[in-house]
């Protein structure tokens, strides 16, 4: 009888212990869910913030491209077309009808200047459409930008495309890469005094590589003079990083500059 009583006591103790274990299991499950969800919420919030930052930079990039285009158009209108039209006006003003031969020569000159003005205006028009060329693809947009560089006659640009462009492009990354190229061109124009520029755009399975090599004056990458320290290189780096890319800059004074940008694509 006593033995049975003891057995019952042990049984009850087992039930109590087991019930406590099961309740602890329940507490563990609910706590795990609670902390997992909190972590998940933090992760989603971070993702939202990063997405928002990315959209902001994209918008900034679009505005900068537009601004750059307007600046180029403004400069060209002033320096080029403005001059041509002024010359045309002067030439036509100086026509003396009494001397038919000289008048004819001056009219022909004025016509020639007008044709050149029209040609420049057409090129300017294409520049305005340049932003939309990004929609047709990065290769075309870069080609268009290079044409504009070469037009000044000061630069000889060599452009190579390697690999096959992916069937599905990424317009956001195209825009950022195009803006990076514009920044590089700006630096070349402002600082490098280069005559030859080589551009290579290479597509592979992992992404796209853009390499720009110039034969300019070069610089100490880690030791820029105060008057040349600008936001340009910093912007290029920041933009490449925002799309998960990397940037390598190789340069020495007197040996030109090589800028290598790799971005996962698409």
């Amino acid at each position: 009888m006593f033995y049975m009583f003891q057995q019952d006591q042990q049984f009850i103790s087992l039930i109590i212990a087991g019930t406590i274990m099961l309740l602890l299991l329940g507490v563990f499950i609910v706590s795990f869910l609670f902390f997992y969800q909190r972590k998940h919420n933090n992760h989603l919030l971070e993702k939202e913030i990063l997405e928002s930052q990315f959209q902001q930079i994209l918008l900034q990039t679009q505005m900068e491209i537009r601004e750059q285009t307007m600046q180029t158009i403004g400069a060209d209108l002033h320096d080029n077309i403005g001059q041509l039209l002024s010359l045309t006006s002067l030439t036509l003003n100086s026509v003396k009808l009494e001397d038919a031969e000289k008048a004819q020569h001056k009219i022909d000159t004025a016509l020639d200047l007008t044709m050149r003005s029209i040609k420049e205006m057409r090129l300017l028009g294409k520049l305005l459409q340049g932003e939309q060329l990004i929609g047709l693809g990065l290769c075309e947009a870069i080609r268009h930008e290079i044409n504009w560089m070469e037009k000044s006659g000061q630069y000889m640009v060599n452009y190579d495309i390697e690999g096959e462009q992916p069937a599905q492009n990424n317009p956001d990354k195209d825009l950022i890469l195009f803006r990076i190229l514009q920044e590089v061109f700006n630096n070349i124009i402002k600082h490098s005094k280069a005559k030859e520029i080589s551009i290579k755009l290479a597509y592979d399975e992992q992404g796209v590589r853009l390499q720009v090599i110039d034969n300019g004056t070069g610089f100490e990458v880690n030791n820029l003079p105060d008057d040349q320290k600008g936001m340009g290189l910093l912007n290029i780096q920041k933009r490449a990083e925002i799309v998960g890319g990397e940037i390598f800059i190789q340069s020495q004074p007197g040996e030109g500059t090589c800028i290598d940008i790799f971005i996962p694509y698409p």
Partner: protein, 243 residues
Amino acid sequence: MEVQVWTTANYAHQIQLAEPLINFYRMLVYLYLVFESGALLTALFQYSKMKRTSYRYFVPYLLFIVIYEMGTIYNWFSVRHSNHWVSNITMIISFIFYSIFLLQLLQTDSIRKWIKRAIILSIFCSLINMIFIQGFWKLDTITILLQFGIIIYITCIYFYELMNYSTQTLLVVRLPGFWLNTGLLFFCLAQFLFFSAFAYMAYKNNYEYHLLFSVISNVSNAILYSCLIVCFICFNKISNSYL
């Protein structure tokens, strides 16, 4: 050695001292009724906010439960000195209610199909158990354990879906479904081992086993109905995107 002489006066004095304690103990034994009534009152109070959701069905269900519990306390259903028959019926009704309610909170269609089949099979097994195996007049613990197992499984699936399927920021403490599932999980886990041993222990008239029943019953019901109260309160600040 001092010998206590029991006079009528002594005896009356002892009873007077013990009576409040006895009443207090009686109150503790039926503490779960307080939580159940609290849940019913909260459901009634929140009814206007819940009436467009399926949570409105908790009002008649909790009313049924409160009436059942009061009936067991006052022995309204006692037949052959036992009310196990009404417990059997109530457990089946509770299982059907909670399982169907929890089922509609799940999102994965394939799992819902299997759980539906498990619920139907469980009800069928409950009836077979009631008629042929444990009987109608004894507590059908096999049925209870089977039903608890299914409810525990459904709650775990719900938690799993909550972890994996939410694509937006979610405050789980504001989800009524979270509290309902938490309450049911703890309720079933707390009583599972007790009912596993019921058939062996209950008819031995072991006082400590009955005391254990009282404690476990109170604790598990307190947890379940407290969670239900919080569940209904969540409707104060709810959007309909994720119930």
